[in-house]
């Protein structure tokens, strides 16, 4: 049975691919039914993934199919079915199924409906392939596939300049990370035993033992470099907030299931390698910490609901990296479990939050600025309740999903502070406290978003809003339709005829409800019961990781986490539930800080000036140099042209007999030369 299932693991990526193939081929006939093959494909893929959960084991692989064989370099198509993979697969396909169902309602009426679903299918195909593949090269292949799909989906409304720019940005930033990953693979290939880059070989003990310290550190660093781009860490996180330009289900997919988790997965997969490089681990933790803090600070002041969610994703990813970075010595196992558990729970509640935001946006006629609506809890009861559930989970409210996973990360950090090499412990202590602070901020901005949207006096967006007017003026000024907050696609996004302020149709609310239930209880089911830990234990190389003899629940850490969550939520309730003037006063008082947060610390502008400007300058200099080269090349090219025009053109007189005569003469002369001179 398990053999049978393992042999058929290829079905997981195959079903979504088949679905998108059907959509592409039959788009003309399917039109408004284009979601059916995709939803069916992803759902089938989920069923297979779920059954694969049963057969997971550290060394279960599907049979290898020969693919790339260049003497000495052998990359087969082979799938690995260990705990990590099956966990990711089940999570990805489950969340993706719900998102696809939601999208079938959300995207209804869009002219690119079939294209959208074809891309969704391709996206899920790439992600499942990435998770399944058993070697770095195949992973890299699907890694790029994920990148391409995200490019096409973020730029789905490509006629909108902002969407096109966001897609380009996402792609380019990801290329920077891919570069690091590629070099890591080259290094692995040259340094590993047998030049075999499959996980089973690379992460085996013999191989890790024979790698030099420089190789271990360098490869770990490069892998982490690759992960920073994909998983939106400082300094390459800038693409993720902009990716909001895509349709909301895409955002949900990217943030929850498919794209950003790829980097975390890569690092988790390579944990046996990473735990041998303490410096890189510390770097991972610090970068994660920085990311979490930075994005949480930005999220505090954003007025765009989806943008708040985006920065919260960045922040939560930072948490995951903190967890991954905490795996020193004996904490390794605990740390990676914690990070992956957070990834797991985060998928549910973040998908939920994004879909709920989408639902709000859908109901508000594509307006997403929180200043333009409020008090929606009576109008959108289901959205309200589900958003609340997701918010609680994100804030880490006790007993919700986020609580358990965040708690484990904090626990891992705390242990890391004790277990780290002498001199490094301080870092982890700092990281720990910043994490607690970030948790508090998380709870606060989650509460802020929630209360601003659903509480307070009921208000629906109208064209007379000062913000709306400002936008309109902006548009006139700039002479373009590019606006930060205009997420919808005005022409035919299918919300015409839909009255503003109504609850979304059931096809959109049912996925929300399912996800809400998951967000509330999934942590309770998998966390304290040890189910998750037990399953993840079946991963390649994890049994050799250091682990603590006994770690029960640490009440102090739990208390800290709960306290942070409850304090944050309480503070936001005070500030925003009934529209107190305190936040405005605070913003006035701390104006520079507020502005910095509001403008995202001007990171984008700095990048624009520093990186893009430098590159352009370099290009200018090169262009001058190029002109010289061009002149030489053209001069050389002109010479034969001139010679031919003057000397050889008369021979091209178009008379076939002339050509034949020349041929005859040529043959005769050649023969004579052969006869007399050779």
């Amino acid at each position: 049975m398990s053999q049978f299932l393992a042999h058929n693991a290829w079905l997981v990526p195959f079903f979504p691919l088949l679905g998108s193939f059907i959509v592409v081929v039959a788009a003309k006939w399917l039109r408004e039914q284009s979601h059916l093959p995709i939803v069916a494909g992803i759902a089938l893929s989920f069923l297979v993934s779920f059954s694969l959960w049963m057969v997971a084991g550290p060394d279960v692989t599907s049979p290898a199919i020969e693919w790339l064989t260049i003497s000495g370099f052998n990359v087969p198509i082979q799938f690995r079915l260990d705990g990590l993979t099956t966990m990711m697969l089940a999570m990805v396909t489950f969340v993706a199924t719900l998102i696809a169902v939601f999208a079938s309602g959300y995207m209804a009426g869009d002219p690119g409906y079939p294209r959208f679903f074809a891309l969704i299918g391709l996206f899920v195909f790439s992600m499942t392939g990435l998770v399944l593949s058993n070697n770095y090269v195949l992973t890299y292949l699907f890694w790029e596939g994920v990148g391409v799909c995200s490019y096409m989906l973020v730029g789905f409304w490509h006629s909108k300049p902002s969407a096109a720019a966001a897609a380009k940005k996402a792609f380019l930033v990801n290329r920077i990370g891919d570069f690091g990953f590629a070099i890591a693979i080259f290094w692995l290939w040259s340094a590993s035993i047998n030049h075999d880059v499959s996980y089973g070989n690379v992460l085996s003990r013999e191989n890790l033992d024979q790698l030099g310290p420089a190789a271990i550190m360098g490869i770990s660093f490069l892998l982490f470099w690759g992960a920073t781009a994909k998983s939106a860490q400082v300094p390459l996180y800038v693409w993720l907030p902009d990716a909001m330009e895509g349709p909301t289900p895409v955002s949900a997919l990217i943030h929850a299931a498919t794209m950003v988790t790829a980097g975390v997965y890569l690092i988790a997969r390579s944990t046996p390698l990473l735990v041998r490089a303490h410096e890189v681990q510390a770097l991972v933790a610090v970068i994660g910490c920085l990311t979490a803090l930075l994005s949480a600070t930005i999220a505090l002041t954003q007025t765009d609901l989806k943008r708040v969610m985006a920065y919260s994703t960045v922040s939560q990813l930072g948490f995951m990296f903190m967890g991954l970075g905490a795996g020193v010595n004996n904490v390794a196992q605990l740390a990676v479990f914690a990070a992956m558990f957070h990834l797991f729970t985060h998928a549910f509640f973040k998908a939920l939050l994004f879909l709920a935001s989408g639902s709000v946006m859908h109901a508000m006629g594509n307006v997403i600025d929180m200043r333009r609506f409020s008090g929606l809890r009576h109008r959108l009861p289901i959205t309200h309740l589900t958003f609340a559930a997701g918010g609680l989970a994100l804030a880490g409210f006790p007993l919700t999903a986020g609580f358990w996973s965040k708690d484990e990360i904090l626990l891992a950090l705390k242990h890391a502070a004790h277990q780290a090499e002498p001199g490094w412990g301080g870092i982890y202590v700092a990281v720990y406290w910043i994490a607690v602070l970030t948790a508090f901020m998380t709870a606060f901005y989650t509460g802020r978003a929630y209360f601003l949207t659903f509480w307070g006096p009921e208000k629906l967006p109208s064209p007379q809003d000062p913000e709306a007017l400002a936008e309109a003026v902006d548009e006139v000024d700039h002479g373009s339709s590019h606006t930060e907050h205009d997420h919808g696609h005005d022409a035919g996004h299918g919300h015409d005829g839909h009255h503003v302020g109504q609850e979304s149709p059931p096809i959109m609310t049912y996925p929300l409800m399912i996800l809400a239930v998951c967000a509330l209880i999934v942590g309770l089911i998998f966390g304290p019961t040890g189910l998750f830990e037990h399953h993840l234990h079946l991963t390649l190389g994890y049994e050799h990781l250091g682990h603590l003899e006994a770690h029960g629940a640490d009440w102090l850490v739990m208390l800290m986490g709960s306290l942070a969550a409850i304090l944050g939520l309480g503070l936001s309730y005070l500030f925003y539930a009934h529209r107190s003037p305190i936040p405005a006063q605070l913003a006035e008082r701390l104006r520079p800080l507020y502005l910095a947060s509001y403008n995202k610390f001007w990171i984008d502008e700095i990048y624009e000036k520093a990186v893009v400007g430098t590159t352009l300058l370099l290009a200018e200099i090169s262009a001058i140099f190029d002109m010289v080269i061009d002149a030489i090349v053209r001069g050389i090219a002109y010479l034969p042209r001139w010679l031919g025009g003057a000397g050889l053109a008369p021979f091209q007189n178009g008379l076939v007999q002339f050509y034949a005569g020349v041929t005859a003469m040529g043959v005769a002369f050649l023969l004579i030369i052969v006869l007399f001179w050779l």
Partner: protein
Amino acid sequence: MLEKRDLILAIAVIVLGATGTYLMLPHRHGSAKPRRVHLIGAVLAGLALLLFATFWRAPASAISSLFFYAFSLAAVAGGLLTITSRNPIHSALWFASVVLSTSGLFLLAGAQFLAAGTVIVYAGAIIVTFLFVIMLAQMEGRAPYDRAARAPGRATFSCFLLFWALFYALLIVRVAPHPKGVAIDTDNERLVRSGEIASSYGLKADHPARLISELARRDTLRMDDISKRPKPHVAGLGEALYTEHLISVELAGTLLFVALIGALAIATPKLPIRPGDPRPQPLTKL
């Protein structure tokens, strides 16, 4: 290398032939050449042909040599007249004589099937050409382009230069007398190789597969079998065609088929465009 007598003779052939042919070819501007010039040209060319014939060695038997000389002279003379006739119909007829003589030479070289095949194919082809000439050209009488040649001097020079090169090359060839008349043994290796295949299977002598493999390693390309007796002509040729050259046969068939379709596609009469019909757009903007 070459005997002086032969060299002089060869040069005489070339010079006389070139002069004669040039005189017989139409004038460059189509001006009429007097009958006398034609006559001189014909005499010179005929002289060259006779001198050329001295380079031929008569075959052993009298009848063969009679036929050989007749056919060869007819072929070359026919070729000369084909290209010098003002009237394309005469050209076609002279070419028919060339084809018939060539078939006769094929027959003398033991290529009976080819001789008959050439006659069948070319008889049809020439008749069709004939019809074309009659339909297209003869309606207006002798066209200016039939009366005038394009650069006859230069063409004669280059072609006779080519002929001289070929002629000289053939004259200086000296081969060692052939011991058996044929070159064998180069493909013994192949026989051994296929024999190995047969024996490696360890088949019994009367096993059908063994028989087939033995059949396969017969040398199909030789005109005589292992006991040096000539194979039956058509059977031998067919065997060689359908074993060694099967791909060539298939390719030739494909080629014929494609040419058939191509000729039909090219020559199918297009409907004339009447005034008022939408004009077809020219395909210039490619």
